[in-house]
Amino acid sequence: MTQRDRAAGIARWGGVVTGLGLLGLAWVYVRALVYTPVEATQGAAQKIFYVHVPAAWAALLAVSVTGILSIFYLWLKDRRIDLAAAASAEVGVAFGLVMLTTGPIWGKPIWGTWWTWDARLTSTLFLFLLFVGYLVLRGVLTDPGIRARFSSVIGILGLILVPFIHLTVYLFRTLHPAPIVLKPSAPSLPNAMLVTLLTSVAAFSVLYLGFLMQRYALALLRELREEALASAQ
């Protein structure tokens, strides 16, 4: 079995996992929209919670994986680790986009404002920008060794940045508490809502895994083809 066959295999299995994730998401849609009760004070818009929060979780997972894999790359110098880190970054940008679009759409009816500079939204915004930068940087660097090294540097910097942005917003908030009319995330959710949320988190996690496998396989296939071309010359 050649390396190319192995990569194609990962792509296929990734497709299966993604398919399962999509089915799971469809089930979440049905459950959230039809079977979960509407929250009395916030209305239907509260249900955005069931897609917004899991997307945030998936985005955070994705960038943490990129950061950790970046450290491993600098240690082990295996280019496949770099490809996996980059795959996770791209998937993270996709989920980050979901979070940054659903956030304001949820915020407007619930908090009365499109954007609140709270810790989670602010961190996600800047992390999103950083990882867009990460992908742009990869796009303009042609040498694979340099690309891998530089990407790892950004990945590690990003990992360390997250707690600082959180702290910044926290400090700002404790000294300037924002007038929040309704606080949407309830620590004690009624059972039906909790189950929907957890189902959604599971679906998004499966989607993350599927996307990661597919994106990694794609990168591997491309790299193998490039190597084959280079050695043929």
Binding site: F126, L127, L129, G158
Partner: protein, 226 residues
Amino acid sequence: MRALLRAAWHIAVKDVAIEWRTKTAFASGLVFAVLVLAVLFFSRDPTAVASSDIAPGALWVTFTFAAMLGLNRAFLLERELHGLDGILLTPVPRAAIFWGKFGANLVFVGAIEAISLPLFVVFYDVPIWMRFGELVLVIAMATVAFVAVGTLLSAMAVRTRYAELMLPLLLLPFLVPPLVGGVQLTARLLEGRPLSDLSGWLKLIAAFDLAFVSLSALLFQVVIEE
């Protein structure tokens, strides 16, 4: 250790000397400072917003531009003179290159800040003399943060064709904690709050400096290795 410091010093002096000869980015830094301070002053409704309300923000936007200009200058130099290749051929300890560049960038950004500050006092009529020492400390701490990460990122950006675009794009997220901290601290200091009240922000910027200066120095070597 002494060899490291000496090498870093020479690299820093070389960079500053080259810039001093032309002073181009220095001049544009000055023009930017005046522009930013003026625009922000005129952008408000004078009957509703006191100049002292927007003053801290105006000052820090100016400093951020200064930092960007300073860092841009650093790699224009590298590009034109292929300076880094030359240094890498010598037996200079790699760590010295970071500290040298970091030092030169600090001098450059610091110089623009030193000129912007009196302009700021004059245009906004801000009484900084009572808190001058503390203000300088805050400015220094935040500047160290931007310049450390900026030095690392510009070493990467210079290897791409779009250096002037890549640097701000990559640097932006790292500016948030020191910038917000700097503005908050400046505002509180000018209001007359004692330093002890501001320990939260001070600790944040100090921790950021510690983490990112060491991380930048470490990762710089990864970036310039061949």
